[in-house]
Amino acid sequence: MGNRFQFPDLGVGVGLRTVHFGHILEKWPKVDWFEVISENFMDTEGRPLWVLDRVAERYPVVLHGVSMSIGSTDPLDRAYLKKLKALGKRVRAHWISDHLCWTGVAGRNVHDLLPMPYTEEALRHTAARVRQVSEILERPLVLENPSSYVEFKDSTMTEWDFLTRLAEESDCGLLLDVNNVYVSSFNHSFDPKEYVDGIPADRVVQYHLAGHTNKGTHIVDTHSDHAIQEVWDLYGRSCRRTGNVATLYEWDENIPEFEVMHAEALKAGAFREQAVLAAAR
C-alpha cells in the first residue's frame, strides 16, 4: 500500500546533525536517507550547507522545518517560503514537512511549536494556509502532529479528527510522529491507539520515532533517548494500516555517537517488516 501522493518509501533514515558531520564525511555510512532541519541550512553558505550538498549527492534528503508557523494568525512569511522552496530544489528534497502549530504572532517568534485549538475556525484558517503554501512550494506540504502540553477548552474535535479533516480539506500529506502521539496521549489522557487508527492511512508519507522524558505529571518531547516499547508498539500498529512508509529516528538532545543513533533507527526496519507481514496474513 502506498500513499496517495506517490512519495516513495525511502526506508529508515536519521536526522543530519552537526555533531555527526565529521563521521558522515569520513565513513559515508550505509543509511537509507537523511532528514534535515530546513532552517539550519537556509541562511548559511558556510560548512553546514557545504556538508548538506555533499550528503544530497549521495543520499535521498527530506526537508523538515520548524518555523513555517502554519497555524499562526500572522501573515505567511513569503520570504521564508521562497528560501525553503529554493533549498528543496537545491537538495532535490523528496518532500518538505513542518508541524501543525504556530510559532508566534504580532511579528514575534518564540521558536516553539505552540499548539492549536481544534476548532472549526482554526481548521478553516489552517487549511487555507496549507493550500497557499503548497501552491507556493509547488508540491503538497506534509504536516506533522505535534506533541503538546495544553488542551484548549474551545476544542470541538480530537487532534486526529482535526488532522484528518485538515489533510482532506487542504490535500496535504501527514508525517505521523508516533512518539508525539504517545506524549500527548499521556498529557491529555486519550487512547493513543484510537489516534493512530483514526489517521487516514493513505496520507501518511513519513513516520517519526523518538525518545522522551517522563516528568511524572507530564511527558516532555525531548528527543533525548531511546524510544520506549509502547512507542514501538504504536509504530507497529500504525504500520499495519499504512504499509511500509519512510521512517526517521529523531535524536536532538544528548546526541550519541552516530552508530548508536543509527542502530536505534534500524530497529524500525524490523518493526515495520513484521507489522506489514502481520497485516498481510
Binding site: T44, V110, L114, V150, F152, D154
Partner: protein
C-alpha cells in the same frame, strides 16, 4: 473578539498565549500580567485551558513558558560561549532574560537573535565589566557572521601571479565576504581560546589593545592575531586604498608601528595564503 462558536477567537488566544510564554516572571506573574490580561479580555485562564489529571491550566502553560527562556539561552550560548563563561551561569541567565525582553526574535531563524547582543551587554547594568563584555561579544558575533557568510572564492595563486609586478602599486584588493577585521581594548581572543580549550588558566584580562582578522577558509573559521601596524594596513586595503598608497601610509606611521619590508612581504603571503582577498582591481 470571540470565535464563531462562542469561545476565545484564534487571534486573541494566540496573542494571549504568546504574552504568557514570553513573560520573564514566574507563571503566576505571567498569567496575571497586564499584557496577558489585556489579550484575554474578561476571560480567565480556566476559560481557555483545560486542566489535566495532574496539572492545573497555569501549570500546563507554564511548561511552554519555562522552555522559552531555556531555548533562548541555548541559542545564544551556541554563539556566545565565551561571554557566558566570563559572566557565569547566573548572570548569563539574567542577561538573556533582559535581552530577549528588549530584543525578541522577529524572524524565523535564531541566527539573527544575537544581532543586538554586543551593544546590549555594553549597557546592561548587570555586567561588572561592560567594556570587556562588549569586546568579547563583538568577537563572538563576528565569528558567527563569518561562519554563515556568503561563500566567495579567494584569489588563486594564478590570479595573483597574473598581476604584473609594476601594477601592484595601484592594485586594489577586496576581501572575501567571510572576513571581519576588529580591534579591541582587551585580549578577548586569547581569553576565548582559553575557554574553548577548557584551559582554566585564562589570560590576564587587563586593558590592552588587541587586533584580529577573522575569515573563513575551507569552511573553517580562522582567527588571526595582528599587530597594530598590520591591522592599520589591512584596514586601509579593505577600505579600497591602492596597495602603494596603503604601504606608503604604513611606512609613514613611523615608530614601532612602521613595518619593515620583510614584514610586509610576510603579511601579504599570509593573507593571500589564508584566502582573505577575493579580487584584485588594477584601475
Amino acid at each position: 473578539m470571540k470565535n464563531p462558536a462562542g469561545g476565545v477567537s484564534l487571534p486573541r488566544m494566540q496573542r494571549w498565549m504568546q504574552e504568557v510564554v514570553v513573560h520573564p516572571g514566574d507563571i503566576a506573574e505571567a498569567v496575571a500580567s497586564p499584557s496577558a490580561r489585556k489579550a484575554l479580555g474578561r476571560a480567565a485562564i480556566e476559560d481557555v485551558i483545560l486542566p489535566s489529571r495532574t496539572l492545573e491550566p497555569a501549570d500546563r502553560v507554564g511548561i511552554y513558558q519555562g522552555m522559552y527562556l531555556m531555548r533562548m539561552e541555548e541559542a545564544l550560548e551556541s554563539d556566545y560561549p565565551g561571554l557566558k563563561h566570563l559572566l557565569g551561569g547566573h548572570a548569563w541567565s539574567a542577561l538573556v532574560r533582559d535581552y530577549v525582553a528588549a530584543h525578541p526574535s522577529v524572524t524565523y531563524t535564531l541566527n539573527r537573535l544575537g544581532d543586538h547582543f554586543s551593544d546590549f551587554v555594553a549597557k546592561w547594568p548587570g555586567a561588572k565589566r561592560p567594556e570587556l563584555c562588549h569586546d568579547l561579544a563583538r568577537l563572538e558575533l563576528a565569528m558567527a557572521e563569518v561562519f554563515d557568510a556568503p561563500q566567495t572564492e579567494p584569489l588563486s595563486d594564478a590570479e595573483i601571479a597574473a598581476v604584473p609586478p609594476e601594477s601592484w602599486e595601484r592594485a586594489r584588493l577586496a576581501p572575501i565576504e567571510a572576513f571581519r577585521l576588529l580591534s579591541f581594548h582587551y585580549p578577548v581572543n586569547a581569553y576565548l581560546q582559553s575557554v574553548r580549550d577548557e584551559d582554566h588558566n585564562h589570560p590576564d584580562l587587563k586593558r590592552k589593545d588587541t587586533y584580529i582578522a577573522i575569515y573563513r577558509r575551507d569552511y573553517s573559521v580562522w582567527r588571526h592575531d595582528l599587530s597594530q601596524a598590520a591591522f592599520d594596513l589591512l584596514t586601509d586595503l579593505v577600505a579600497g586604498k591602492p596597495l602603494g598608497k596603503a604601504v606608503a601610509a604604513a611606512l609613514a606611521r613611523g615608530g614601532k608601528r612602521a613595518p619593515t619590508t620583510d614584514q610586509l612581504f610576510r603579511w601579504f603571503r599570509e593573507w593571500a595564503a589564508g584566502g582573505v582577498f577575493k579580487s584584485v582591481r588594477l584601475r
